[in-house]
């Protein structure tokens, strides 16, 4: 069981380490303060998994570190019954010169297991890690996935009362991740208490009983996973639109400006925000303003993924549509795109140019006009970057 009451934690930022000592000794202030956690209270019952959501810097790691006792709180109370093991310290103290078997002892001792416990569980740990005979090879010959497997195997066998699961789990391959997830479910079924920190919103929805959302060190939601995830999405969406606005100010469009886009809005048909599900229709609303009379304008949009790779682009010319505008005319354009693309962050670029090609002459071109994010799948899940139409048929053969 975990009880956390009115937890406060601040980090002090100092001009020099010496100021830090001066203050620690005299108590006189020499710092600027950064509030990492502010009045955080929650409880987790045995057999319960609490999800923790929050953006980078929201205080998730600080919270976990306070719970393991690696950091000490300014004020407030953390009450944890039984041994607490964090999966955030996977493989701490591993010595790469030693064999996997020797490292089990070292790492398990650090997690607070006794020598007797270690010997009792050694076989189980080795079996779970699936390292086989590699267990007797020095750790430096292991792949990072193998190191992670060994680390997780030890941590889960430390038989804690409370388990703190961090992003560390996402290192392994799909098969081992599933095995870990199953193990976490078993642990819960046996009455273990789990704190699950993740950016994987689906995992939080599937695995957790409840979830809290941290924002700027405060708990802004403590609710069912579905509600908490929505709350988190709203925070993310707000930030995404701010980001888009900022980037809009930064990269100015280029071109002859004979016709320009004066406003742009991107939102999912159902979600009504920058956060959409894969398979949802993305509605793009652009407002065009012509500064000259043009007979033959082509409008193009381009979706790029987080690597800057073109995912999809099309223009009105390819649709055999032509736009003609008078000088001073303003026209609204609605584009709807079925976003059958993988989960991730995307940017939208738009361009206006004479039909056929923008290379000869360009009226207006703007990269990073807007951003949106695909989170979760509306229909069946898929791997890769986009959905292709796919069907499985079966025929039993009787020879």
């Amino acid at each position: 069981m975990i009880t956390v009451e009115h937890l406060h934690k601040s980090f002090k930022l100092f001009a020099s380490p010496r100021d830090r000592l001066k203050e620690a000794l005299t108590g006189k202030s020499h710092h600027t303060q950064h509030m990492a956690l502010c009045d955080v209270s929650f409880g987790v019952q045995p057999g319960e998994i609490l999800g923790v959501l929050g953006q980078n810097g929201a205080g998730k790691s600080t919270l976990l570190k306070l719970m393991t006792g690696v950091l000490l709180p300014d004020s407030g109370r953390i009450d944890i019954q039984g041994r607490v093991t964090g999966l955030l310290e996977l493989g701490t103290g591993f010595n790469t010169e030693l064999s996997g078997a020797d490292n089990i002892t070292a790492n398990a001792l650090m997690l607070g297991m006794s020598r007797v416990e270690i010997e009792q569980r050694r076989e189980e740990i080795i079996a779970f890690s699936e390292l086989g005979d590699y267990i007797h090879e020095p750790l430096r010959t292991y792949s990072s996935g193998m190191v992670m497997r060994l680390g997780f195997a030890i941590a889960i066998h430390a038989d804690p009362a409370c388990l703190l699961v961090d992003e560390a789990l996402s290192v392994g391959d799909g098969y081992f991740q599933q095995k870990c997830m199953q193990r976490i479910r078993d642990f819960k079924a046996q009455g273990g208490t789990i704190l699950f920190v993740s950016h994987d919103l689906n995992a939080v929805k599937v695995l957790c009983d409840r979830a809290i959302v941290l924002e700027g060190g405060h708990i802004v939601a403590n609710d069912t996973p579905a509600t908490a995830v929505n709350h988190y999405n709203r925070i993310m969406a707000k930030q995404a639109s701010q980001e888009a606005q900022r980037q809009g100010e930064e990269n100015v469009a280029f071109g002859t400006q004979e016709v320009v886009v004066t406003a742009c809005q991107v939102e999912g048909q159902e979600s009504q925000s920058h956060m959409i599900s894969s398979g949802e229709v993305l509605n793009i609303h652009l407002r065009l303003k012509a500064n000259a009379t043009l007979e033959d304008i082509a409008l193009g949009i381009l979706v790029r993924d987080r690597f800057g790779q073109d995912v999809f682009g099309q223009n009105t010319h390819q649709h055999q549509q032509k736009i003609a505008m008078q000088a001073g005319e303003v026209r609204d354009v609605y584009v709807s795109v079925k976003a059958d693309i993988a989960v991730g962050k995307y940017t939208l670029s738009a361009a206006l140019h004479p039909s056929d090609h923008h290379l000869s002459r360009c009226y207006w071109w703007h990269d990073h006009l807007a951003t949106f994010e695909v989170a979760g799948y509306r229909e069946s899940k898929f791997s890769g970057i986009c959905r292709l139409s796919c069907e499985f048929s079966f025929l039993t053969r009787v020879d």
């Binding site: 980090f11 002090k12 000592l21 000794l25 950091l71 000490l72 010169e97 997690l111 020095p138």
Partner: protein, 266 residues
């Protein structure tokens, strides 16, 4: 009391770290753990060979049959004690920074961590002393019951090292210069202690100053027990005991006072 219980809880971890420093660091080498024994042995052999056989250095006023070895005994008893002090002090001074990866990930006691280098160096010292005793037996030098005092002096010396080391370790997190300063000042301290030279050559006025040097008191005590076969300077050791207790108190007070902040800054 609570601190002691927590230390006891961390004992297996301390033993593991000690073991790592002693044995595991030689794991990938050909001779493996033999190195742990080899380095003190070779040290002793070198001193004996150079100062007894080759240079034939002598100290006057001791039994004629061991005359040839007297300076070696003087030197070795001092240098073994110095080595355990210097090595563990510099290791403890840097321990919070060197172990930052561990401290920021698992819940280890900052008070327990320094015991790992302290114990491993003490074990190296005891191995050295065992070789030393064998050497004394071989040359027929008497080993009296005064040797029983050696562990007591060692215990005091280790407590002193722990107190001073912990104090420096906390400060070193805030003042990075301390790491360098300790590295530079330890050799100076070495030459301020009559280890290589005989304290007879010190002018009388300087002797009172040197008597304030805790390391001189330790080295002097070992020599009294091993070489001169007499009771050490109890008054001097009592003063050092007082110094040690003060150091321990100050170091632990400082750590208690700064621990939260110290953990933040690692």
């Amino acid at each position: 009391m609570q601190m002691l219980r927590r230390l006891q809880h961390q004992l297996p971890l301390v033993m593991l770290l000690t073991r790592q420093e002693l044995i595991d660091r030689h794991k990938s080498s050909l001779l493996g753990r033999t190195w742990t024994l080899l380095s003190p042995l070779i040290n002793i052999l070198v001193f004996v060979l150079i100062f007894s056989t080759i240079m034939g250095a002598r100290l006057e006023g001791f039994g004629a049959e061991v005359d040839q070895y007297t300076y070696s005994i003087y030197l070795i008893s001092g240098i073994l004690a110095w080595t355990v002090f210097a090595k563990s002090l510099s290791a403890i001074t840097n321990i919070f920074m060197d172990r930052a990866g561990m401290i920021t990930k698992v819940n280890v006691s900052l008070r327990a961590l320094p015991f790992a280098p302290l114990l491993s160096e003490a074990i190296v010292y005891l191995i050295g002393m065992a070789f030393f005793a064998v050497f004394l037996l071989l040359i027929g030098f008497p080993i009296s019951e005064l040797w029983l005092g050696v562990p007591l002096v060692l215990a005091l010396q280790l407590a002193f090292t722990y107190g001073l080391g912990l104090l420096l370790a906390v400060l070193a997190v805030y003042i990075k210069d301390i790491r360098e300063a300790v590295a530079v000042l330890l050799p100076v301290w070495f030459w301020l202690t009559p280890i290589v030279y005989v304290d007879d050559i010190i002018p009388p006025w300087a002797r009172e100053v040197i008597a304030l040097n805790p390391l001189f008191q330790f080295v002097d005590a070992y020599r009294a027990l091993i070489l001169y076969q007499q009771m050490p300077n109890i008054a001097g050791l009592a003063v050092i005991l007082g110094v040690t207790l003060t150091l321990l108190y100050v170091a632990l007070w400082l750590l208690n006072r700064t621990e939260r902040d110290l953990r933040d800054s690692l």
